[in-house]
C-alpha cells in the first residue's frame, strides 16, 4: 500500500461525506437551525435573566448571546460528531460501513479518515453559523475567525472520536433519540456552554466538578478563547487528551479480533 493509496482513500472518504452533506439539505438546515433557535430565542429570552460578569477572555460585560455563541458552536460539533459516527451503525447505513471495512487499508486509518471527513463538515457548519451570528452582534475580532480554526478542528476531532467510540461500544443506541438523551443533553448542559462555571460552582459544588471534568466544557472553552485570539492551555490539553483516549478506545472497539463487529454478529 503506497502513500498515494492512503491519500486517495482519505480524499475519497472526505468527498463522500461532503457529497452526502450537500445532498441531505434537511440535515444541513437542521444543523444550522438548531443553534440559531438557541441563539435567537433562548438567548434573547434569557438576556436579562442571566447576567455575565467580566471573565476572560471577555474584557467588558458581554450580552448573553455573545456568551453562549461558543457553546452553540460546540453544540454543532457535538451533533455532527455523533451523527457522522453513529449513522454508520444504524442498519440503514451498516452496509456503507462494511464497504469501508473490507477495503485493504488498515482499519485504524479508515477510522481516522472517517473522523477527519466528519470534522471538515463540522468546521464548515461552524463558520456558516458564525457568519449568520455576526448579524446578531456576535462580532469577535477578525483574528478570532482565523484562530478558531485549529480549535474547531481539535474539538471536532475529539467529539467525532467520542461518536466513533460510542458506535463501537454501545449496541443499544439504535436511534438518535437515545443518543440525544444519554449523551448530547448531559454533555451540553453539564458544561460551560450556557453558563460560566463560577455560577455553577455557587449553585452546586458536585455539578461544578462534573462540569470541570466534562470534555465538552473544554472544547467550548477552547473555542471561546480562540475566538478572541487567545489560547486556553488547560482546555487544549484536556481536549487533546480526551481525543487520544476516545480514538484509542474506538480503534480497539473496531478491531476485528474483538469488539463490536463480533458482538453485533452474535446478536443477529
Amino acid at each position: 500500500m503506497s502513500p498515494a493509496h492512503y491519500g486517495r482513500c482519505l480524499l475519497g472518504v472526505v468527498e463522500r461525506e461532503g457529497l452526502r452533506f450537500i445532498n441531505q439539505r434537511g440535515r444541513f438546515v437542521a444543523a444550522l437551525v438548531r443553534p440559531l433557535v438557541w441563539l435567537l430565542i433562548f438567548a434573547t429570552g434569557f438576556h436579562f435573566v442571566l447576567g455575565v460578569s467580566i471573565i476572560p477572555p471577555y474584557r467588558t460585560y458581554v450580552p448573553y448571546e455573545v456568551y453562549i455563541a461558543p457553546g452553540l458552536i460546540g453544540m454543532i460539533q457535538l451533533f455532527q460528531g455523533m451523527q457522522s459516527s453513529l449513522s454508520m451503525v444504524y442498519d440503514r447505513e451498516m452496509g456503507s460501513m462494511r464497504t469501508l471495512l473490507v477495503s485493504p487499508l488498515p482499519r485504524w486509518y479508515l477510522l481516522v479518515a472517517k473522523l477527519l471527513a466528519g470534522v471538515i463538515v463540522s468546521v464548515l457548519q461552524a463558520y456558516v453559523f458564525l457568519a449568520i451570528a455576526w448579524f446578531w452582534e456576535i462580532e469577535p475580532p477578525a483574528i478570532g475567525y482565523l484562530a478558531v480554526l485549529p480549535a474547531l478542528i481539535l474539538s471536532g476531532m475529539m467529539l467525532g472520536a467520542l461518536g466513533l467510540l460510542l458506535s463501537s461500544a454501545i449496541r443499544q443506541l439504535e436511534n438518535f433519540a437515545g443518543v440525544m438523551n444519554f449523551v448530547i443533553f448531559p454533555m451540553f448542559f453539564a458544561s460551560s456552554a450556557l453558563y460560566p462555571l463560577w455560577r455553577v460552582q455557587e449553585a452546586s459544588l458536585p455539578l461544578y466538578y462534573i462540569c470541570s471534568l466534562n470534555p465538552f466544557t473544554h472544547a467550548v472553552e477552547l473555542i471561546r478563547f480562540a475566538l478572541y485570539g487567545q489560547l486556553d492551555w488547560v482546555s487544549a490539553a484536556a481536549v487533546v487528551a480526551a481525543l487520544l483516549v476516545f480514538m484509542a478506545l474506538a480503534i480497539y472497539g473496531y478491531d476485528p479480533g474483538r469488539g463490536m463487529m463480533l458482538r453485533r454478529a452474535a446478536a443477529e
Binding site: H5, G12, S96, R98, V102, S103, L105, P106, A265, A266
Partner: protein, 267 residues
C-alpha cells in the same frame, strides 16, 4: 452425524478426483474453520477450496452459517480456529494483501442512495487507491458490462433493485479482484434480474478466470456444470462438482440430493 454424512463429508479433497490447477492457484482456501458465538456453534470444521475460473455455489438454508462464513472471509471479525487463505495470504496475518484481491457483494444493500451511481463507484475506487483517471476508465468499462452506462449520473435511489445489484457487482470488480464473493445476491429480485446476474457472473468466471463463491438458499441457482458446497447447520455435508454430489447422494437432481443430505443431518 450419521454414517452416511460422515462418509460424504469425509470424501477425499477434490484435487485427487479431477484434474485441477495446483494448490498455489487456490483463490480461497478455508481449512478447519470453526466459529461460535458464545455457546452457539455456527461453523464446525468447515474446509473447502475455490479455484480460479470456478463458479462455486455455497448452498444452505437461512441460518446455515453462510453470512458468518462471509464475515470471516472478509475479516469483518477474526476467526479463532482454522485458516482462511486468499491466494495464499492468511487473512489474519496479511489482511491488506488478502482484502485487495477480494471483491464482495454483501447480502444487504451497501450503495449510498443519495449519491449518483458514478459517485458511489468513485468512492469505492478511492478506498482501493485507484488514481482518478484509471478509476474513470474502469468505472466506464464495468458499468458498460452491466448495461448501465446511461445511468451513471442518476442517483442510486432512482434505480430498480436489480439495477442496484448490477452496480454492486460492477463496483466489486473495480479494483480487479481475482476472487468475487456474493452473499445471497439475488434476494428480492425478479426472475429476469436474477438470470442477468447469474449469467453475468458465470461469464466473468469463464472469460476472466475469476474465482466466484456465490452463497444462496435457492437450489436452482446451482450451476450444473459448476461446483457446490452444501452447508447445513454450520457443517459441510457435501462438496464437489454438482454431478458428483448428486450421484454420491444417490439422487436424481440437486434438489433431491439437498433434501436427502439435510434430512440425514437432522436425524
Amino acid at each position: 452425524m450419521t454414517e452416511a454424512d460422515a462418509s460424504l463429508s469425509a470424501k477425499p479433497p477434490e484435487p485427487a478426483a479431477a484434474p485441477r490447477p495446483s494448490a498455489e492457484e487456490a483463490a480461497l482456501a478455508v481449512e478447519e474453520l470453526s466459529h461460535a458465538f458464545g455457546a452457539r456453534e455456527v461453523l464446525r470444521q468447515v474446509s473447502f477450496t475455490v479455484y480460479s475460473g470456478g463458479f462455486t455455489v455455497l448452498l444452505g438454508l437461512n441460518g446455515a452459517g453462510k453470512t458468518t462464513l462471509f464475515s470471516l472471509v472478509t475479516r469483518l471479525y477474526d476467526h479463532r480456529t482454522g485458516a482462511i487463505r486468499i491466494f495464499g495470504a492468511e487473512i489474519k496475518q496479511r489482511p491488506s494483501e488478502a482484502l485487495a484481491r477480494i471483491g464482495v457483494v454483501f447480502q444487504q444493500p451497501t450503495l449510498d442512495l443519495d449519491l449518483t451511481l458514478a459517485q458511489n463507484l468513485r468512492y469505492h475506487a478511492a478506498l482501493h487507491g485507484l488514481p482518478r483517471r484509471l478509476a474513470a476508465e474502469r468505472i466506464a468499462s464495468e458499468v458498460e458490462r452491466v448495461g448501465l452506462s446511461d445511468r451513471l449520473g442518476d442517483k442510486v435511489r432512482q434505480l430498480s433493485g436489480g439495477q442496484r445489484r448490477r452496480v454492486e457487482i460492477a463496483r466489486a470488480l473495480l479494483h480487479r479482484p481475482r476472487l468475487l464473493l456474493l452473499d445471497e445476491p439475488t434476494v428480492g429480485l425478479d426472475i429476469a434480474s436474477r438470470q442477468f446476474l447469474l449469467d453475468h457472473v458465470r461469464r466473468l468466471c469463464r472469460e476472466d478466470g475469476l474465482a466466484v463463491l456465490w452463497a444462496t438458499h435457492l437450489i436452482d441457482e446451482v450451476d450444473p456444470e459448476g461446483e457446490v458446497i452444501v452447508l447445513h447447520q454450520g457443517r459441510i455435508l457435501a462438496q464437489g462438482p454438482v454431478g458428483e454430489v448428486v450421484q454420491a447422494a444417490g439422487a436424481s437432481s440437486m434438489r433431491a440430493a439437498f433434501d436427502a443430505l439435510t434430512r440425514g443431518a437432522v436425524q
